[in-house]
Symmetry: C2
Subunit: 373 residues, 2 copies
């Protein structure tokens, strides 16, 4: 139930839309739950709406406290009073992506046709399907056009898909640490994670709801993925070969090195907060993502109808979606005659840099958003 405070700030909301949503896989999904939050007020002319798109394991609690953990939103560095995205000026919307497990329809939600959780009978979805669901939410909220769509990593893929799918609705697009297509290596890492989940006997073909979830498999999946979010130099700086709170190696198999116990902790806490099937579905959507493929094999074609301004940002130590991936987007934008600005920022933190304190990133986004006004 929403508290009075939640209602006032638009926190922790959930709407059931009738749909149907026609998915790329051909299935008609209906109805459609969407968990979302909003911050600020939509201007009378509707011109101040900013949609924020979250990453693989993110959620809609972008700037409000998380209802379960009580922790601040995951992007309060970017969104808040005096920040580049400011609810005093902007109407900010963030929705849990389709297929996830934080309030939107996904494998862990109830299939109304069977009154049981969907599990693996939930249809496979794409990044574009996530975007279509968000568009339905905006229709519901009375938001016709977006001053900007902003997102990093998988959020950036949604931003690109927004500009391609709803060119008339997007005035500006901010794509951080992202890519227009998943590479073979990206797919390979995700496949390791999926196999780890599916190899866990507790997974039971996805029908573990009400029973023990495949926590061990999901933890291994998270550990493998987590390494790709960090730079080698960042890991070395943070942990090096430092041992845990003991003087010498144990000559055993406990976590001797700090990096081992850090990774184990990442895996364990993740399986407490995330649904394993949702992880399968969202990684699949990421691996399927190839924006050029949806447009005749030519990435520039995706942007032919766009009137949006684009801001593309990469980080020099990001080896998951390295700068060359952002360059490919910028080349396509240039080829399509779109207005594109591009910057590679320096950071020791690898892919995760877009989520961390970065005055430079804030200046880039602030300047870009203000330039359109």
């Amino acid at each position: 139930m929403e508290s009075a405070l939640d209602q006032r700030f638009g926190l922790n909301r959930r709407v059931t839309l009738p749909g149907p949503l026609k998915l790329d896989g051909g299935v008609l999904l209906s109805p459609l739950d969407i968990g979302y939050e909003t911050y600020g007020t939509l201007a009378a002319d509707g011109g101040n709406a900013i949609l924020v798109c979250h990453a693989l394991t993110g959620d809609q609690h972008v700037a409000g406290d998380h209802p379960v953990t009580g922790k601040p939103g995951w992007w309060t560095r970017m969104i808040g009073p005096g920040k580049p995205i400011d609810p005093a000026r902007h109407f900010v919307i963030c929705a849990n992506v389709l297929g996830s497990c934080m309030g939107s329809s996904g494998p862990a939600t109830i299939n109304p046709a069977t009154d049981k959780p969907w599990g693996m009978s939930f249809p496979v979805i794409t990044i574009r399907d996530m975007v279509r669901a968000q568009a339905m939410l905006l229709d519901h909220l009375g938001v016709a056009r977006l001053q900007a769509v902003v997102g990093g990593s998988m959020g950036g893929m949604q931003v690109l898909s927004w500009a391609a799918t709803y060119p008339e609705r997007v005035e500006a697009a901010v794509v951080l640490a992202s890519t227009a297509r998943h590479s073979a290596q990206n797919i390979a890492f995700h496949e390791v994670g999926r196999q780890a989940i599916m190899a866990d006997p507790a997974w039971r073909g996805g029908e573990y709801y009400g029973a023990t979830p495949p926590a061990a498999g999901l933890a291994v999946a998270r550990m493998a993925a987590h390494i790709t979010y960090l730079s080698e130099a960042g890991l070395t700086e943070k942990f090096g070969r430092r041992l845990q709170a003991r003087e010498a190696k144990s000559f055993g198999f406990d976590a001797d090195f700090q990096v081992e116990s850090y990774l184990r902790h990442q895996g364990l806490t993740f399986s407490d907060r995330f649904d394993a099937n949702a992880y399968l579905y969202i990684t699949r959507a990421l691996d399927y993502f190839d924006l050029a493929e949806e447009h005749g094999g030519v990435l520039a074609n995706a942007f032919r109808d766009s009137k949006a301004r684009f801001c593309i940002v990469s980080f020099d130590t990001d080896w998951l979606y390295p700068t060359r991936d952002s360059r490919a987007i910028v080349h396509a934008l240039n080829a399509a005659g779109a207005r594109a600005s591009f910057v590679e920022l320096s950071s020791p933190f690898g892919h995760d840099a877009f989520l961390l304190e970065s005055p430079e990133l804030n200046r880039v986004i602030d300047g870009f958003l203000r330039a359109g006004q």
Copy 2:
């Protein structure tokens, strides 16, 4: 049982040495099984012996056919008639490392004290322990000194440890695609693999011998590690986003992309041929490896007593043990006044390049070995 052919060529041999071998962890191991192969004949002056050290999942069948699979040895590109290492000129020795599962003592062998497999009661070992075991084998074979010690990846670490531990026995050292210490990222990837194995209920604390082995966990471990052996560009060239033998995406969770089924195959075939506990022990030895730490924190100290010539080779697309790791070795060798040559070779194949066809690598090693004669 050895065939007459095996006896003639020194193939597929196994010796039980009395030991004891004093391990870095403090345990005295006795007796000590070593599986090994030899090729060629030891010269009267004992001056033509070359020890080849294998990598994590390698074995002693370096140039002879594998007794089970019947496949040619794993390094016939480097060892054979007319090759840089030639049994017509060299007496070649390759031993299965301590802790492995191809004939040498390890967790899958019988603990004579209990008459049961060691399992996780096998002592944790180090790279230096592997080298000490090899030295005992050389004593048994009557090989006092080595014209060269040669190895790539974990084999290269053994080469470095040989030069540091037995400086009087090593005349030349060839270190390929290797490092003097495991980085935080290296440890992190191995920890994912270990957690995948230990999360498999079939692992049962390592006591799965005679029952079902943790094949699924070991397969996931192998998949994660395998990604690190290949370059991003190599993966893209080999697979890109190409689909399996079907026209379009399945919108399901079968292996849609070629890279997915390739990885799954790598995982499955590996768990057929390798022991999961051995994988735990050897990855632990790798993660413990820090040659400087064994020498007062200064890598150069490891080589102060060495009279050997060193040949260090890295590959430009190897991101597991990148060129900067080889540079650090060369800097230490220079600081120690050792004779060191260093080359970075270009290859699209990442870490695995040292195992693949490379006329350039063969020329480097051939020239280096001949220069000492």
